[in-house]
C-alpha cells in the first residue's frame, strides 16, 4: 500500500479499517485505486452524517454561539479593565466571568455531544467569526485575543464530550439552575442571552438520556 493510501486509511474508523483494507487486498486493488476507494469511502461517510439533523444544529450552534461569546468575551474584558481602574463592581464582573465560563463550556459540550463526528465542521464554523473579529479588532488598550477568552472553556467542554464523560442529572441541573440564577443576579436576562438556555437545556436533556437504563433508550 502506498504511503498516501496509508494516510487515507487513518481517516477511516478503526472498526472499518481492517475490513476495508482486507477487501481491497482480496480484490487485488493497488496504488491509486486503493487511495481512490479509501477517499471515496471517507467522503461518502461524511456525506452520510449530514443526512441527519444533528450536524446542522451543532454547526449552527457553533457559529451563532461563537458570535455571541465573542461579544461576551469583549464585554468581560472591558469590565475587567474598568475594575482594574477602580471603576467597576467586583461582584458584577465575577458574575459575568462565571457566566461566560458556563455558557462557553456548555456550548462546547453541546456542539460535540450532538455531533462528534462532524466536529471539524463545527470548528471551522466557530473559527470564521473568531478570525474575522480578531483581524478587525482595534482597541489600543486591549489585546486582540481578549475577544477569544471563551475559547478555553468552550474547548474544555468539547473535550469533555469527546471523552464521552457522563454528567450526573444533579450536576447538569445544578449547572443549568446556577446559570439562570447568575443571569438574574447579573441582570443579563436580555434578548441575546436567552440563546444560552439552549445549551443549558441540552445539558439537562443529555444527562437525563445518558443516565437512563439502556433498554429504556432502545425502547
Amino acid at each position: 500500500m502506498s504511503p498516501l493510501a496509508e494516510m487515507a486509511a487513518i481517516l477511516i474508523s478503526p472498526e472499518d479499517r481492517d475490513a476495508v483494507l482486507g477487501d481491497l487486498a482480496e480484490a487485488g486493488a493497488g496504488g491509486w485505486s486503493v487511495l481512490g476507494s479509501l477517499l471515496g469511502l471517507v467522503l461518502r461517510q461524511q456525506m452520510e452524517l449530514w443526512r441527519e439533523w444533528q450536524p446542522w444544529v451543532a454547526g449552527s450552534m457553533a457559529f451563532a454561539g461563537s458570535l455571541l461569546l465573542l461579544c461576551v468575551s469583549f464585554g468581560l474584558s472591558v469590565d475587567s479593565r474598568q475594575l482594574l481602574r477602580d471603576e467597576g463592581e467586583y461582584g458584577s464582573v465575577v458574575c459575568e466571568a462565571l457566566l461566560m465560563l458556563a455558557w462557553a463550556w456548555t456550548s462546547g459540550f453541546m456542539v460535540v455531544s450532538l455531533s462528534g463526528k462532524t466536529r471539524w465542521a463545527s470548528c471551522i464554523l466557530c473559527a470564521i467569526p473568531c478570525l474575522s473579529c480578531v483581524v478587525r479588532f482595534h482597541d489600543a488598550s486591549l489585546p486582540r485575543v481578549c475577544v477569544l477568552l471563551f475559547l478555553v472553556p468552550a474547548v474544555a467542554g468539547a473535550v469533555h464530550a469527546v471523552r464521552r464523560a457522563r454528567l450526573s442529572r444533579r450536576t447538569a441541573l445544578t449547572l443549568a439552575v446556577a446559570m439562570t440564577a447568575l443571569m438574574a443576579v447579573w441582570g443579563g436576562m436580555y434578548q441575546r442571552n436567552w440563546f444560552f438556555f439552549v445549551p443549558a437545556g441540552w445539558l439537562v436533556f443529555h444527562a437525563e438520556r445518558s443516565n437512563r437504563p439502556r433498554q429504556e433508550i432502545s425502547a
Partner: protein, 109 residues
C-alpha cells in the same frame, strides 16, 4: 421503502448466506448486476442498513489472502428480508403491464 441499491445489497447478502462479507458481496454484485460496486457505496449502505436494523455485522476471521485482515461478516435480519420482499413485490406489481415484463411488443408512449 428500500432504495434500489439497498435492495440489491440485501438480496446479494441473503444469497451468499454464511459467506456474506464485503469482498464477496462486491464480487457477486459485479457478476449479477453487471456494474461495479465501490467500497464507499458498499460500506456506507451496510452501515445505514445496520442502523435501520435490516443487517447485522460482526468481525470474522482473517485470511492470508486478505493480508491477515479480518472480514466484516454480514447477515440479513428478518426485518431486512421483509423489507426486501416488500420492495420486490412492489416492483413486480408496478411492472406487470410494462412491455418488457409482460412480454408484449415494445410501443412508444
Amino acid at each position: 421503502m428500500l432504495g434500489e441499491f439497498e435492495y440489491m445489497l440485501i438480496t446479494v447478502a441473503a444469497g451468499l448466506g454464511e459467506n456474506a462479507y464485503g469482498a464477496a458481496i462486491r464480487e457477486e454484485f459485479d457478476k449479477g448486476a453487471g456494474r461495479k460496486c465501490s467500497i464507499g457505496a458498499l460500506y456506507t449502505t451496510i452501515e445505514r442498513l445496520e442502523r435501520k436494523g435490516m443487517l447485522r455485522t460482526w468481525m470474522g476471521e482473517a485470511t492470508a489472502q486478505r493480508g491477515g485482515r479480518a472480514k466484516r461478516m454480514v447477515r440479513v435480519t428478518p426485518k431486512g428480508m421483509h423489507a426486501a420482499k416488500e420492495f420486490y413485490e412492489a416492483m413486480m406489481r408496478v411492472s406487470r403491464n410494462a412491455s418488457w415484463a409482460a412480454g408484449k411488443p415494445e410501443r412508444a408512449s
